[in-house]
Symmetry: C2
Subunit: 218 residues, 2 copies
């Protein structure tokens, strides 16, 4: 079957969300300390990390919980953390090298979609912030499917949204057990974007190598 | 009595919130249209304005309500509006000319406070975004006082927070009936920051003229 659609994971595939989170957390902690939170950086970072792990990354009151842990409630400190997180996030929300030219090239031949574990509005906000939203014909999230990758339903919903059969579609993502296994389970092709050197024909470590891999699938 | 403290309104006094709102709304509407909302700019702007008036500016679902009005529910369009609003807000959240040097000069002689109708965290986030938060010894909001300017309680709470008597304090703001009348009602000095030329000794149209006015009060 001819490949007609390419689906992408978002976080750590289209942009470096790991570095974004790490830098935004660190800068927010530095800003809170600068605004009167008299504690060591590494301790506050560890406590914040635990709160985010506990409540999930889409919880709205991480900084309130953090200050509560220290027996404090200071809007100045919370505001310093929130604003620094947002500013740092905006600074790091950039497409990974190769993403934009590759999407431009792919757009000529394929429908483009995203399949992402996350909240629908938040994931669209990331695509808008990345200035990639116009490339995407479909974005399907775990929120709207009520199930997360690697569950088959989320992939099937994405395929249905573009009227594509599994073997006409490729899934590109950084998490083998989530993105690739999930896609292959329902008969989609999988291309694993990994940090170390690729060993198989469906592995890449540079986003732009995707174009060559897709040629091989035809 | 010697003046010992200067209190400021925040919106339209420390920064141009009117222009910020206007530009952020317009850019958000342009971004939504760019992302598929096929309606005239001025119509969408008018509808958005009405929704904000109805729900207040601190409501979180303005864009959801707007799309609902058009019988739509599209996370791509909402995300485009939200992100454009936030980016534009950050671009316009700058201290008005004269604010920073004047605060630096005043800080040598006076305690500095803010008295603002708004939500505590939101107002602190503005001060942090303006990079003015370190100047302020006290920020008192209508949220924490459960009453808005010109009610006496909010001014009395602010004075108490710095242990200052009314006639030792000056209130600076752009709204005569709110900021100035309210302050004078409890015996504080009032300096009206107005757009047109000042006619009285307690009126200024440039922020930096505050220093001369305060000298006259000593």
């Amino acid at each position: 079957m001819l490949v007609r659609a390419v689906f992408f994971d978002i976080d750590n595939t289209l942009y470096d969300s790991a570095t974004l989170s790490k830098m935004a957390r660190r800068n927010s902690v530095l800003a809170m300390i600068d605004s009167g939170l008299d504690l060591p950086v590494e301790k506050v970072l560890a406590d914040l990390g635990q709160i985010i792990e506990e409540h999930g990354s889409n919880y709205h009151w991480h900084y309130d919980e953090l200050l509560k842990l220290y027996g404090r409630c200071d809007a100045k400190i919370i505001a310093a953390g929130v604003v620094s997180y947002e500013h740092t996030k905006n600074a790091y929300l950039k497409p990974l090298p190769g993403v934009v030219p590759t999407l431009i090239a792919l757009k000529k031949h394929y429908r483009i979609g995203a399949i992402s574990n996350g909240l629908t509005l938040k994931q669209w906000e990331k695509l808008v912030g990345l200035r990639l939203h116009h490339f995407f014909d479909s974005v399907v999230t775990s929120e709207e499917c009520s199930c997360e990758k690697p569950a088959p339903e989320i992939y099937l919903t994405a395929l249905k949204s573009l009227d594509i059969k599994p073997d006409e579609a490729v899934m590109v993502g950084d998490k083998y057990d989530v993105d690739i296994i999930g896609a292959q389970n329902i008969g989609m092709h999988g291309v694993w974007l990994k940090k170390d050197a690729p060993k198989n024909s469906n592995e890449i470590n540079r986003f732009s190598d995707l174009i060559e891999v897709l040629k091989g699938l035809k």
